[in-house]
């Protein structure tokens, strides 16, 4: 496919805008010197990924990203920053010094080259086709189809994930609360 043809398609224009936004904000997440700015840039990057899912016609995944990631996980991160008293202002101590940053940049760029060259070699000019008539209309996956798939074909992984969530819930409570016996001994210690 010729590049000028690629740019004249409106969906690719939208894709370019979303992609540039996503990469710029993701870059700020890993480089900014302000902790709260890093979290807010992550919000923008995740919103861009949700827009990308909408572009691909995966509406349920897109709104789940908005609800679970932007709604819940980001709030959790902000609480984590507050509780661990991370430096809130401009701070230079958030990243490792340059002698670690440069090899890390080389490693991650090499990783990108490896993944990218493999993908380009494997899929070349393959196009995401508009979906055929049937379960999917106009390339949009209906939420009902995703739900049927979860509760028929993937019901056992679904149950396993729900047990995992319960285990994570209990684990997080056990880890984060203060040990009651320790608290008691502290209280008696201060009284004496």
């Amino acid at each position: 496919m010729i590049l000028t043809d690629w740019f004249t398609m409106p969906e690719n224009f939208v894709y370019s805008a979303i992609g540039v936004t996503m990469l710029a904000t993701a870059y700020r997440v890993v480089t900014t010197r302000n902790v709260v700015h890093a979290v807010l840039h992550l919000v923008a990057a995740l919103a861009a990924s949700a827009a990308l899912f909408l572009l691909l016609g995966a509406e349920f995944v897109a709104w789940t990203v908005v609800l679970v990631y932007i709604g819940a996980v980001i709030v959790l991160f902000l609480f984590g920053i507050m509780i661990t008293r991370a430096p809130l202002g401009v701070e230079t101590e958030l990243s490792h010094p340059r002698r670690i940053r440069i090899p890390a940049a080389i490693v991650s760029f090499a990783l990108f080259l490896v993944i990218g060259s493999t993908m380009v070699g494997a899929f070349k000019d393959d196009v995401i086709e508009p979906a055929p008539q049937g379960t999917m209309e106009f390339g949009i996956t209906r939420t009902a189809d995703v739900g049927q798939s979860i509760f028929q074909r993937f019901v056992i992984p679904f149950e396993v994930v729900s047990v995992l969530l319960l285990a994570a819930l209990i684990g997080a409570i056990v880890l984060a609360r203060k040990d009651p016996t320790e608290e008691e001994s502290e209280a008696t210690g201060t009284m004496r």
Partner: protein, 101 residues
């Protein structure tokens, strides 16, 4: 739409996440970079789902599972960071060297 444009964007996002994990000192920011990597994986899953025109929407279902597991991971990860912060009075990953000889 080419499939490769989504895969390359996912690869770039994943590499940025790897860079963040390798360079960040603060444990909360390391977890933040891990979230970037998981978002990249989700993009790949949904793009392949559309590419193979799967009637069972398996890629999207697995993207939903990844989102769930990521939420659990953030909860546990932040609880561990909180616990270490209470004991060591610091959230810097290079100060967690209790098991070093």
């Amino acid at each position: 739409m080419l499939i490769n444009q989504f895969l390359l964007l996912g690869a770039a996002l994943f590499s940025l996440g790897v860079y963040g994990v390798l360079t960040r000192k603060n444990a909360v920011l390391v977890l933040l970079s891990v979230e970037l990597m998981l978002a990249a994986v989700n993009i790949n899953l949904v793009a392949f789902d559309r590419y193979f025109v799967d009637t069972e929407a398996a890629g999207q279902v697995f993207a939903l599972f990844v989102i769930t597991v990521a939420a659990a991971e953030v909860g546990i990860g932040l609880a561990i960071v909180l616990l270490i912060f209470r004991v060591r009075k610091s959230a810097n990953v290079d100060e967690f060297d209790l098991m070093k000889l």
